[in-house]
Every structure is written in structure tokens, then in C-alpha cells.
Symmetry: C2
């Protein structure tokens, strides 16, 4: 498009942003208006995209990191013919695809859910990395960022990653409208301040008047021709551009325009320009064919193996069977054991360094392109990326996250390294799967099974070695459990997983010698939980005792209770969990101090059994 | 100290790091050895600190951001005479104060727990900000960082904050030993790469040979004389410096030296130098005297007030009563309503921009200096700082965190802005308090009460207005609840809080018209939970129904269940929570779609009551 056409298109995007927000009675038109010229030029002259085939492997990818500017995005879809005017005006209504912040659950052209600021660029980096190192179909990744969100450290984590990886297929477009939600940003219209920061991280930068369509056009051209570096286009804009009563004024964030009719008139009225977005060149997905069957490592019963080791070896085997599996790690692959995958499949291993937000964001980005990522770090450090996990679940992203070094059982390193909140954190995530194996064969099976699930899947592994108790042929369906000890005389059921499962079995031995029979259930699938087996155990033993190497809130204890919230009678319940703040100590001392070792389990069981008799 | 003495002291720190790790059989001696010269010069020639009075208001503050180098820290304590050699060798043993990663719970000279990388500098920024804008006692803040941890975005979030605030009382010392845990860092010994990044964020930088004690001495002097900017000293070092068999070699992270005796000999043997650390000049704490009694806003029953508004007004009143209260916000003070505090107490309000990790870290830093911080943003966005909250609890920090815009009740903005995992996240934190008020008078009382609690305190507020139901004279003890409806004929107890409490009351009205009496409990204290009242209600009504605007895992439902995990008989239980992925809709439509409005509660209650009759 030429200058006049681009200017007209930008005005249409503004008008439609104003109209959609007015119809909704809420939304962010002023944040949309600042970036309208940037979007118009991108759509008309640079983006290569087939709106009828959003999965086209050659399509460029666009991420609206400033997700609140959704009216602009939807106005763009209308201009591209992807939605009609009637749908545009359903913005923010119940049942509409056009939500307040865009999500791929509803709209096929959205790569990732945004609305938590500072996440679009990190996910864009993940997509660009997939483009560069996996897909190689030549697509470009365009990310529209706000200036306010550049205060998020995650943006610089992403900038560092992109610069280091020389992602010249990535362009960040920064809409510097100088106004945040409650007032001016730190750097106002000081474009140099932002440029210096991006340059320091190895980016090429272009400063531009974000309302000069020709200058924008040249800037995009410069980004496309820059080799070896990502480009940041730093655009000076005005919030609410084009409507004098709101332009560059404070106090108008996230509000429809006071007088939409007048604003539309000032913007030159409603238009209905239609952009023919050029299609990408033909391209093929490159995912190597999956053999479908992984030749998983097999362990002999009685062997002492850490589940983290079993994880690494199983993942390496899965990677051999499935060409679509990729692994990522947060600079601790020698601890999480993803190094086994790295050694066998270096082309599909991604070192994310100590940057857990980028670790998860890269996974999300790769998952958008059809890859099956397994991202690992210490369970404790996945807390760093909780907001990214939350947003990934809103996206409907299918990613595997693996947290090693679970619980106090890690020993001497102390509480900062202990995953003690991870089960709670992942259980609360919509549609998540939470797995916690206790032996190597179980771990291997679960690692393979995770790949085929929907949503966020979390696997918790342990540092120390434990005995193999299952045969390599045993199956572990998601949502299942294993009853490891049971008799007609059971007077209590102990429910455990991971390290405490072994303690529970030892406690059961102790108790048996005292003439007390207890049932033991391995709750390897913490979510979804095996309600039927738990209910049966409750009915036949009358009392359940849960034991976990995790805080008492949100973990295995709560997962078990969930099985009894259907209004039917509930068994007696008790739980053992980590109620103290641990220090340094050996793994055995830790389990004992926290009251979750065999001895503590046996003591609690005795008390429960006795109380039952008294009544 | 002169060159020779400093060199000797540094060797002593290395030797003691090797000895402590050897005695423990674990630990990070090589990461300690790289920074020994940096620490020796700091301790001997620049730090002003009274080890006998760690609370001295004039003391410089030191943060070991690379917390795994704890042997070096403890060796330094020994050199300063704060601990003796016998204690040094208890490193990492059960019961020792010298944990694998340092924590202020055990050691009075530690400002903040570290061990999750990239958090020391952010907390240091908080302390420096307190020094600059609140305490004004002239202390300096020194933070020793690793090079690996500079991959964390939180470091650059902190760098941005420090540069913008002109924190010339802050010095970051970066130990560039080029080796991370599993191998080389991104930038190796490229000191310029790090310097460029710090400079871009407005820092003064000094590049130095980290093993040249005179050069280090000059660098610290330069940092002290730099006005208007924080300084980053980028020091080229060798991991394992001084012992040829480990120096600058990969694969030796986090391991005791292979031959400690030989290493000690190579380092010149055991020494027992003692450093007289200069004391700070006399200084007084400046916390203005607290009146002790806050004149809280009072609301009339029946008024429609949002709890977020009540939060802002109560905090402003508390700030008037207590000079030690400070408020911080993540650039959404017009939404969280901390703007009311900002207007009345601008000197004690801190804008953290859209940087939730720094928001929490600044709070932690200020709390170390005796201030009582209230930090607010959307509940959803506190997920961004979960690792910081986790580490704050390990520190034993007393901070108030306030999450607004809880649940689906926010309406049109959609899931990215909805706090739906916050209760789970905060409940799982050790020693936390979790509060969720339903009306304005209750909010005001809880805001005042929070200030006096230990540990992490979380308050959840709502976007929309709701009716005031409590008198301004009502008290709301932490760990309590309110029975709002009760009769001898109650056949069910509905437990709710916040927005669903009002829905529960409406449901009870509906059911009463049908002849069904239900008890209603306001569970404003989600943690600790009022076990006694819940147990009483269970015994007299036989069945509990929980209703919450939160995911079904880890929230009010689980909190209520906790009251029944003591092995005694359990009532029948059922729960209503947000089981769907919401889109955009009005608040009323959202509550209805999620099945947590009055109509849904009444329907669930009817079913439960009927089921009870059948049995």
C-alpha cells in the first residue's frame, strides 16, 4: 500500500478500535490508537500470512504482547477479512471470541494468550527459536510491545536470549506512547533509553516516528534486511492518537472514549478498507515422523535409581522415538538429567541458562509450532515462572514441565533449593496434570505418557536414589493409582507418592510386625486423582493417612480430600506433611525432622488405629 | 589492610571455604574461591559493620546474591570474629546455623535468604532505596552477584529500578568466573558484555581483575565516590582460584575439592587472621513514632463499596497512625487503590512500575530495615513473584501483599487478569496468613491487623462494589470466622468469603423461602482457618458446602477440609469453585457461568439436603 492508503487503513483501525470499545462499554481504545500506524504498515506491506490457513508452516507469526490493545488486533482481523464488522462489535461480550485480551483457545490467528505484560516477547523468542533451529520454513516473528511492559525483567531475559541466539527472524515493535495505566512511564518519550538497553543485549535498533507510515515502512524493511541480530523498532507514538480530547492525556487508560461518535467523525468516519495480506511461500512442516513407540529404559526391581536419572534417560529414549520432542533446561541439566537428552539429540536441546521465565516461554513458543517440549529445572525454581505457567494454561498450550529436587529429601542444600510448593502451584492450574513417580520404571512410563496429554503437565522428580519397585512392564494410566499392600484386615490406608511411598511401605512393614495391617496406595497421579480407588480404600479401612514431602496445603493431602467432596460420607482423615522450615541436614534427618519418615508414619498410624478402636 | 595482608586474608577465606566444604562433604568451595579476593578487600577496607550489633542503623548491608558461595560468607564471619573455627566446621550439619544457603532466620548478619539466583540484587535495591529515601543513616549496600545469575530477568528489573532511582549507595560486585553449574556461561570472561548491560540501565561500571587486591580496592573506592548512580564492579575471576587441579575447570560446581589437604597446602595452609571491621558512625533509626491507633474509615451497613477501595482508604489511615508503614505498587495504584495512600503519604509511597518481582523484593528489602511494607497489584500478577514470596518466607520477612481483582467477578477483562490461583499459592507458603474480606469495614480492620503479624500476609480484594454487612465496630480476629446465619434447624452450612459470601447469603434467603434453613459462615481468615467454628457447624448441620471465586484446588474448599484432618469423624462435604476457563462477560454472567452465584449455590444446597434425607 502507498502512503495515503496506509494512512487511511490506520485511521480505519483507530475507528474500529473506538467502535468496538464503545459497543463493549469497556476496553483499551487509546492503547490501540497509538499503535494503529504500526499495525497498518505491518499488515499491508510486510506480514505474510494466510488467514484461511493459520497453521500454514510458512506463515509469519504475530504476537500482541500488549494484550490489552485487543481492539486494534480485532480491527486488524476485520481489515484482513478474517472477521466481519458484526463480530467486531461483539467485543468483550459473553460468548464472543473477541475477549478483552486475545487467546488462542478462541481465535486461530492468536499464537499465545497475552494480558500479563512482559510475556509476549519471551514467547515470541520461543517461536523465533523454533523457526531458526527447528522449522526452518523462513517465517518471521513480529511482536508488538508496549513501553510500560519493558519494566518487566522477563523482557530483558528474552532480549538476552534473542541476542545470544542471533534471532534475526524476530522483530520487536515497541509502541512508546509514554503513558502507562496510572501515569507516565519511567522513560517517557526517551527512545534512546530503550534503544540503549536493546543494543546492550545485542539487538539492532531503529528509532522511528510511530505515526509516519513511510518511516515505519522503511524501519520494517531494515528489520527484514538485518542479518545476525534481532531488531527492535522503537516507535514514538501518542496514546489516543488522532482524537484531540484523549490524545497524549493521562487518566484515560482502559476506558472507552467519552464521545465515540465525535471521535469517529474526527478520525474521518467509518471505513471498510480490505487488505489482501500476501500469503507465505509454500513450506512444509519438518517434524520428523514419529515411530510412535519409545524403547524406554528398563530397570530391575530392587535397583537403586533416582527418578531424575530415570527422567533423563526416558526423555532421551522418547526423543529417539519421536522427532517432535524437544528438551529445554535452565542451566541445571546435570542435575535434572536432561543432559542425557542433550547428548543424544543436541539439535533438539535448548539451553535457556538461569532464566526460568524464558524456559517456560520458549516451551510455549515451540508448542505453538507443534513441537512437544519438556522443560526442566529444580521444582523450587519453577515458582519463578508461575505467571508464565498460568498464561500458558490460558493459551491452552501443551507443555511438559519437570521439577527435580523435590522436597526436604534433597538434604543439605536447604530450603531455598527444596520444591515444597510445586504440587499446590501446579494443581491449581486449569486443566493441569500432576505426576509424581516413586521409581524408575514408573518415571519412564509417565514421561512417555505425558507427551500425549492436553494442557500443562507437570512431573516431579527426586534427587536421591530409591529402590525400583515396579516391573518395567507395569502400566501407569494417568488418573490411576497403585494399591501396593492390601488385606481384608486393613485398619488404615496410607496414601503417599515419590519418596514418602517408600517410607510408607517401610512403615507398613513395621506395623505388620506389631499386628497392624495397613493398606498402602501409590498416588503417582496427583491430578487427576483416582477417586474410585481412594473411595474403596476409605470404605474398607475407614481412615486415610496421607504423607507427602510437600507443604500441607495444596499437595497430596488436598488431592486425596478432593475425592470426597461429592457430598457422600467421608472417611476419617489425617495428614503428614512438611510443617516446619527446614535447614541443612542429611536426607534421612530431613525426613525425620519433618515427620514424614517411616517411623513418623508408623506413629501416626498407631494413634489413628487406636482412636478408631476407642470409638 | 595492605596488599600483602589482603592477599593473606583472601587465601584464608579460600582455605576456610575448602575446609568447611570438606567437613560437610558437600557445598560450593570453587564458587567461593573465585570471590575470595573481592570479599577480603570489602571486609578489611570498605565495609562498616558492627558484628555485635547487626541491627545498628548505620551498618553497611551486605547481600550474598550468589547464595551457594556460603562457605565464603561463613569464612568471612570467622575472619571478622563473629563465629569461631569450631562453628565454621559445622557447615551444612543438622542444627547448624551455617546452612547450605544463608538465611536470616538463623544468622543475624544475613539480610535476606538467598539461594534462588537473581534475588539478592533486587532485595539489595530495596534496602538501598530504604537507605536513600527512608532511613538516611548513610549506610551502603554491597551485593555480591554471580555471573550465571545475570541471565535472570529479575537482575535487569532490579538494575532498571536502581538506575532510575539513582541509588549511589548501592554497589553490585559481579564475580565473573565464567563457569555456571553445567558449563560455561553465555558471556564467559567478556566483562564488557556485562558492563554494557549495566551502563544501559544507568549504572556506573568498573571492570577489574578480581584477583588483584589493589585493583579491587581502587574499584570499591571508585564506587564509594560515584554520585548519582549505582556502581557495578565487573570482576574477572577464576572459579576454584588458587588450586591448580580445580581452577577454571568445568564439572566441579557444588562439590568439595577432591583432595582438601593438598588444596589447603597449595593455598599456603590454615591461617587465623582476624579483621577489625570498622564500626559505622553513630546513627539513629528514623521511624517516626507510631500513634498505635489508626482512625480507620467507617462505612454504614448497606453502603456499596469495593473492598479494593476500602483497602486504599484503610491503608492511608494506617499510614497516618503509623510512621513505619510504607506502600508500594506495580503501576496499577489507580486499580488497587493504593493511590489513596500515595496521595496522603507521598514520601512513603514507592512506584515499582510493572515489575512484580521487584515490587516484592523491594518490600523484603524495606522489611529488613524495620519498615512495614504493603505491596499491591492485581492478584493474578502476584503469580509473577511467587519465587520471591517463597524466598521471603525462608527469610522470615514480614511483608503485606495485597492482590486486587480477585476471581471471575472482575468481568470483561478475561482470564489473564483474574486472580484464580492466588489463594492456593499463598496458602502453601510457610507461616503465611491469607485474608479475604467481603465488606469495607472488615477490610479496614484486617488491613490494620495485618501489620502486626509475622511472615507473609496476603489480603485478597475485589474489583466490584458489594454491600457493607458489618458494623464498623465489629472485630475480625485472625484465625476467626463469622457465623452470619444460624438456627437450630440448619440442614447445611455454606462456607464462603469475599464475593461468594454475598451470593451465599442470597442463596440462604432463597432456600429459606422454600423452607430450607442453611447456616452461612464468612471465612474471611482463609489461613489460619477457624477449625472450631467449622467443626461445630459440621456437627450441627452434618454437611458443608464451600463456594469460592477461585480454582477448586488449594483455596477455600481445601482450607475448610484442613479443619477435618485430625482423624476425627468428618462431615459430608461439597464444593463449588471455578472449574471452567472463563472468557469475557459481565461480572454477573461470570459468576453464573462458573456456577458460584446464588442460584448455583441454592441448587447445590437443595441436592445435598435431599441426598441427606434419602440416606
Amino acid at each position: 500500500m502507498n502512503t495515503r492508503q496506509l494512512t487511511e487503513l490506520a485511521q480505519q483501525l483507530r475507528v474500529d478500535s473506538v467502535r468496538a470499545s464503545a459497543a463493549a462499554g469497556s476496553g483499551h481504545p487509546t492503547s490501540s490508537m497509538s499503535a494503529a500506524d504500526l499495525m497498518a504498515v505491518l499488515l499491508a506491506n510486510h506480514m505474510r500470512y494466510d488467514f484461511e490457513r493459520p497453521a500454514h508452516p510458512g506463515n509469519d507469526r504475530f504476537v500482541l504482547s500488549k494484550g490489552h490493545a485487543s481492539p486494534l488486533l480485532y480491527a486488524t482481523y476485520k481489515a484482513a477479512g478474517a472477521i466481519n464488522d458484526t463480530e467486531l462489535l461483539t467485543f468483550r461480550r459473553h460468548g464472543s471470541r473477541l475477549e478483552g485480551h486475545p487467546t488462542p483457545r478462541r481465535l486461530p490467528w492468536v499464537e499465545t494468550a497475552t494480558g500479563s505484560l512482559g510475556q509476549g516477547l519471551p514467547v515470541g523468542v520461543g517461536i523465533a527459536l523454533a523457526g531458526k533451529r527447528l522449522d526452518r520454513t523462513g517465517y518471521r516473528v513480529w511482536v508488538l510491545c508496549g513501553d510500560s511492559e519493558l519494566a518487566e525483567g522477563s523482557v530483558w531475559e528474552a532480549a538476552e536470549h534473542a541476542g545470544y541466539e542471533h534471532l534475526d527472524n524476530l522483530t520487536a515493535i515497541v509502541d512508546v506512547n509514554r503513558l502507562g495505566q496510572r501515569g507516565p512511564t519511567r522513560h517517557g518519550h526517551d527512545l534512546d533509553a530503550y534503544a540503549r538497553r536493546f543494543q546492550a543485549f545485542g539487538w539492532h535498533t531503529v528509532e522511528v516516528d510511530g505515526h509516519d507510515v513511510d518511516a515505519i515502512d522503511r524501519a520494517y524493511g531494515e528489520a527484514l534486511s538485518t542479518a545476525g541480530q534481532p531488531t527492535a523498532i522503537i516507535a514514538r507514538t501518542l496514546k489516543g492518537k488522532g482524537v484531540a480530547s484523549v490524545q497524549d492525556r493521562e487518566g484515560l487508560h482502559g476506558k472507552p472514549l467519552p464521545d465515540a461518535e465525535e471521535a469517529i467523525a474526527e478520525l474521518g468516519g467509518v471505513r471498510d478498507l480490505r487488505v489482501e495480506v500476501p500469503h507465505p511461500p509454500a513450506a512444509r512442516m519438518v517434524h520428523p515422523v514419529s515411530s510412535g513407540h519409545a524403547d524406554l529404559p528398563r530397570y530391575d526391581i530392587g535397583d537403586e535409581v533416582a527418578t531424575r536419572d530415570a527422567y533423563g534417560r526416558a526423555l532421551a529414549a522418547l526423543g529417539t522415538a519421536r522427532g517432535d520432542v524437544v528438551a529445554l533446561d535452565g542451566e541445571v541439566s546435570d542435575s535434572t538429567r536432561s543432559e542425557f537428552f542433550a547428548k543424544e539429540h543436541p539439535d533438539r536441546f535448548f539451553e535457556c541458562y538461569i532464566a526460568e521465565q524464558q524456559l517456560v516461554a520458549t516451551s510455549v513458543g515451540m508448542a505453538t509450532r507443534g513441537w512437544v517440549p519438556y522443560a526442566s529445572t529444580f521444582a523450587a525454581f519453577l515458582t519463578r515462572a508461575y505467571d508464565f505457567v498460568r498464561m500458558a494454561s490460558i493459551s491452552g498450550a501443551g507443555i511438559n514441565l519437570v521439577g527435580s529436587h523435590a522436597g526436604v529429601a534433597i538434604g543439605q542444600d536447604g530450603p531455598s533449593q527444596m520444591g515444597l510448593e510445586d504440587l499446590a502451584m501446579f494443581r491449581a492450574i486449569y486443566g493441569s496434570t500432576v505426576l509424581y513417580p516413586c521409581d524408575a520404571n514408573q518415571t519412564a512410563k509417565l514421561v512417555a505418557e505425558m507427551a500425549g496429554l492436553d494442557g500443562i503437565r507437570y512431573l516431579r522428580t527426586s534427587r536421591g536414589a530409591g529402590p525400583v519397585i515396579y516391573s518395567p512392564t507395569e502400566e501407569f494410566p494417568i488418573g490411576g493409582s497403585k494399591v501396593l499392600r492390601a488385606s481384608g484386615d486393613d485398619r488404615l490406608t496410607v496414601v503417599a507418592a515419590g519418596v514418602t511411598l517408600h517410607e510408607a511401605l517401610a512403615a507398613a512393614e513395621l506395623l505388620e510386625r506389631e499386628g497392624v495391617q495397613v493398606r498402602v496406595i501409590d498416588l503417582y497421579s496427583v491430578k487427576p486423582v483416582d477417586r474410585r480407588t481412594l473411595r474403596e480404600a476409605a470404605e474398607s479401612t475407614g481412615c486415610l493417612l496421607t504423607v507427602e514431602d510437600h507443604r500441607e496445603e495444596g499437595g497430596i493431602g488436598d488431592a486425596v480430600l478432593d475425592a470426597f467432596t461429592d457430598g457422600r460420607p467421608v472417611p476419617r482423615l489425617a495428614r503428614l506433611a512438611v510443617r516446619t522450615m527446614p535447614g541443612s541436614a542429611s536426607p534421612e534427618e530431613q525426613l525425620h525432622a519433618a515427620g514424614i519418615d517411616a517411623e513418623s508414619i508408623a506413629a501416626a498410624a498407631r494413634l489413628l488405629v487406636e482412636t478408631a478402636v476407642v470409638r
